[in-house]
């Protein structure tokens, strides 16, 4: 698909030789004259066809002349006009906006070919065309040194598509089974409408609908809007259920930067009537209006088994946007740093990472107020810290929400049979609710290596040894002055272990033996064999 970088060029841009890397799908291009240089890039499912307008020997001679010309030095050429064909629904302005920047800066044949490749990629990424073909044609004869760019698109035959799979989504907080329907390019602006339903194994269910636009007026970055209805059951861990009705708008979404606005109506309820005092005080309705900025760089060579590189994530969330003082007000910050370097034997590599996060309320009386329960930090669960940059949440060996501050659940009286008149009532142990923390830090080190069996090596199955540590505390603004760094370090929990990793197409499965090195009284860590499923 790429413009061949080792092509030879002739001395004269006219006639321009025909250059093929892949065949065109459009029969209109068959039989075109030898003045055209054609660069074909196809979508999946298209058939290849060879164009034979000249004798093979003449064609080869033309191509060789062109390669000699191009390799001899830059061939001065600029774009005179962009011609778009095949778009019955899609607006010309959308296609032009996607490709204009690339072609505007090209001033030689080589740059033009590169720009054509870039433009082709951008148009394919709109996900609204079945095929895209870019042809470079000679410009008007009265304007030497110019070329016309002809863009042939085939719009999606079936704009309605469906998908089903396993995904990891921030809203679900875990991985989930999801089905979705997509309607592409309804209004010709590259708009993609989708409706999806998801069910996660964290007792999560979600229905959502959204629309994405590749650009909107002066905003050249993709815009996404989504309305979602989410229900999450935390009764087992924290004695509350969460229902969200939210609107999220992705304002900026580039490779590294992501800025999104979120307006969510949230309701926390406790149908079991067993919640602790801390949870009880936070039950009810609330409105979240927040701006979330994420900066991410990931230069690791793999998400499933990184062996070299580094990654960095910073997530900043500001809640309380709006004139209403009753909206939830908080500031939340997360950092996550990862690194990997190879050891040079058995394909071994060391991965390490540190993550930290803090949240605090703001506004009048913030010293005495608490941060919202769902936005606090919870630690534990069997997701691998290697795959995704998820902040200070993962601590192998501990159950979901199994680390951190807790509060006693509602006490109950149990019945004594015949002796109830004389025997004192017994208090049944109610257990505790995980209430999360305002400050969390995790760190891990992982050594991965190939297993001796060739069968395992070929299928990517490998072993690893790991060491995890982490701590999460409830540090309110009023208690900040009394914070003891030494005390914080002394209460770090840790675990170590080893295991086997099975990477598949959809997820990464780990079978680990975890040994709990240190845990506190109310933690839920367990030494033994555990399974972990992660999606990259």
């Amino acid at each position: 698909m790429a413009t061949p970088s080792d092509s030879e060029a002739g001395p004269n841009p006219k006639p321009v030789e025909e250059l093929e890397t892949e065949s065109a799908t459009n029969d209109e291009h068959q039989g075109e004259d030898e003045d055209e240089i054609e660069e074909e890039e196809e979508e999946e499912g298209d058939d290849e066809e060879a164009e034979e307008d000249e004798t093979p020997a003449a064609q080869r001679e033309n191509i060789n002349r062109l390669f000699r010309r191009l390799s001899g030095g830059p061939v001065r050429l600029r774009v005179q006009d962009i011609i778009i064909r095949g778009n019955t629904k899609t607006k010309d302005a959308l296609i032009e906006a996607e490709v204009l920047d690339a072609f505007r800066s090209a001033c030689s044949m080589q740059e033009l070919i590169q720009a054509a490749g870039l433009a082709n990629t951008r148009l394919r990424q709109l996900d609204i065309f079945d095929s895209v073909s870019i042809t470079l044609d000679s410009g008007p004869s009265e304007l030497p040194g110019t070329a016309n760019v002809v863009i042939d698109v085939v719009e999606a035959r079936n704009p309605l598509t469906g998908e089903f799979g396993a995904y990891s989504k921030p809203e679900a907080r875990s991985w989930s089974l999801e089905g979705s329907l997509k309607l592409k390019n309804l209004f010709g602006y590259g708009d993609i409408w989708d409706a999806s339903g998801a069910y996660g194994f964290g007792q999560t269910s979600e229905i959502s609908a959204g629309v994405s636009l590749p650009r909107f007026k002066a905003i050249s970055t993709p815009l996404m809007t989504r309305v979602s209805l989410l229900s999450q059951d935390w009764l087992k861990f924290s004695s509350y259920k969460e229902r969200l009705l939210g609107l999220s708008v992705g304002l900026i979404s580039t490779g590294n930067h992501d800025l999104a606005y979120n307006l969510t109506w949230r309701n926390l309820s406790d149908p079991s009537h067993m919640s602790s005092k801390t949870i009880r005080r936070q039950l009810g309705h609330s409105l979240l209006s927040s701006l979330k900025y994420t900066y991410r760089i990931d230069h690791r060579d793999s998400n499933l088994r990184p062996t070299r590189g580094y990654a960095f994530l910073s997530t900043s969330q500001f809640g309380g946007l709006g004139p209403d003082s009753r909206i939830l007000r908080f500031i939340r910050q997360e950092f996550d740093v990862r690194g990997a370097f190879p050891l040079g034997f058995y394909n071994a590599a060391v991965n390490f990472g540190v993550a930290a996060g803090a949240i605090m309320p703001w506004g009048r009386g913030f010293m005495d107020s608490t941060s919202p329960l769902p936005e606090r930090f919870y630690m534990g669960g069997h997701s691998s810290p290697i795959c995704s940059l998820g902040g200070p949440t993962s601590l192998l060996g501990f159950k979901l929400r199994g680390v951190g501050p807790t509060d006693e659940r509602r006490a109950i009286l149990t019945k004594h049979g015949e002796d109830e008149a004389t025997t004192p009532g017994r208090i049944a142990s109610p257990g505790g609710d995980a209430i999360g923390g305002n400050l969390a830090v995790t760190a891990f080190a992982d050594l991965s290596f190939d297993l001796p069996l060739k069968l395992f090596r070929e299928s990517g199955v490998h072993g690893h040894m790991f060491l995890n540590t982490g701590n999460v505390v409830d540090l309110t603004p009023a208690e900040f002055k009394n914070f003891s760094f030494r005390g914080f370090l002394e209460t770090f929990r840790s675990s170590a272990g080893f295991g086997i990793i099975f990477p598949t197409r959809f997820f990464r499965m780990e079978i680990n033996y975890c040994y709990i090195l240190k845990q506190l009284q109310h933690d839920h860590g367990k030494t033994g064999i555990q399974f972990s499923f992660s999606t990259p």
Binding site: A2, G117, G284, R326, A411, K415, H416, S459, V461, P503
Partner: protein, 335 residues
């Protein structure tokens, strides 16, 4: 002796009443929370009043916390019933048995006819500002508006009120309320309290209802004018209000806790005689054998899943875990 009493005082858990916020000159302006407040005050329980501002549509409020124990309004007949059964408050326990039928029917009349009339006036006939002030003023505006509308529809549905029968329903509601006031006025007569010259839960329920009608509902309220026709009921409200509500509203606590065990008690963790309770949704205790069986079943299923995954991964080869290029054509795409 004094030191022992002090230690005993310190050991007693704090009683907290969580109700909806105050207003209109009342410690709590919610017609459901007021009777519970009055009940605790009648029992001379020293309690702390806290407000819940985020659950306007939930029926678990008010609730009473005493230590780690909690009684919710939507459990076992309500907070007052639970307080009676848990022996936190024993206002009703010493009623003679011959009063019981009269007492029970009076209580039901107040809890149903008068409570429905208040609900009708608050959510259907009065303007929105009263309900907004009591329930929704601490919620963001969009949420408050939507919940208010939902609650209004719920009340109409509960009473079976439609556009066609609205007038008939209103007449029926007010007729029952008038009958209730008449009956209560005849029952009270010139007494200080309704039964046996001492406060019971009937007094708490009626006082909470009457205070709300007289202080919160507007002067044009039909209920208010009906209640005002009965002078002895107004006298009862006035006397109790002076004694219970006006003193406590400024301090948010009641009189000193009485150590008289016959009128009230706080359940302790050890050494107390309690009526046994079972948790509404208590799990069945599993035997050791069942636990072992479940554990083995989980391991068996996990082993099956693992073996399938191993089989697929070895036969299928490594997944897309190799190098992931940014673009297949080798170009770096940056914006």
């Amino acid at each position: 002796m004094e030191m022992a009493d002090e230690r005993e005082e310190e050991a007693k858990p704090e009683v907290v009443l969580v109700a909806r916020k105050g207003g209109f000159g009342l410690p709590t302006a919610c017609p459901v929370c007021l009777p519970v407040y009055c009940h605790l005050r009648f029992a001379n329980v020293d309690f702390k009043l806290e407000f819940d501002r985020a659950n306007p549509d939930s029926d678990h409020i008010p609730y009473v916390e005493y230590g780690d124990y909690v009684t919710f309004n939507n459990e076992k007949g309500g907070v007052i019933e639970c307080l009676n059964e848990d022996n936190v408050v024993k206002l009703d326990s010493q009623l003679p048995k011959d009063c019981f039928p009269d007492w029970a029917s009076t209580k039901v009349m107040i809890s149903t006819w008068l409570a429905e009339a208040v609900q009708y006036e608050l959510w259907v006939t009065c303007d929105n500002t009263i309900a907004d002030d009591i329930y929704f003023s601490d919620l963001p505006w969009p949420i408050g508006k939507i919940l208010h509308w939902k609650q209004t529809q719920a009340v109409k549905q509960l009473h079976g009120i439609t556009k066609l029968n609205a007038a008939e329903k209103e007449e029926e509601i007010y007729r029952k309320a008038n009958i209730a006031y008449e009956a209560l006025s005849m029952k009270l007569g010139s007494q200080v309290f309704f039964f046996e010259g001492r406060p019971t839960s009937v007094d708490s329920l009626f006082l909470g209802h009457a205070v709300f009608v007289l202080h919160v509902l507007p002067e044009t309220s039909v209920l208010r004018s009906s209640l005002s026709k009965h002078a002895n009921l107004l006298r009862f409200v006035q006397d109790c209000k002076i004694r219970l509500l006006e003193d406590s509203y400024s301090s948010a606590t009641g009189p000193a806790f009485s150590s008289d065990a016959s009128s009230s008690s706080i359940p302790r963790r050890k050494g107390s005689k309690q009526n046994a309770k079972t948790k509404p949704k208590e799990k069945r205790e599993r035997t050791e054998e069942e636990k072992a069986f479940r554990r083995r079943a989980k391991y068996f299923i996990a082993a099956q899943v693992v073996s399938i995954v191993i089989y697929l991964s070895i036969l299928g080869g490594m997944g897309d875990s190799g190098l992931e290029d940014g673009d297949e054509d080798g170009l770096t795409y940056e914006e």
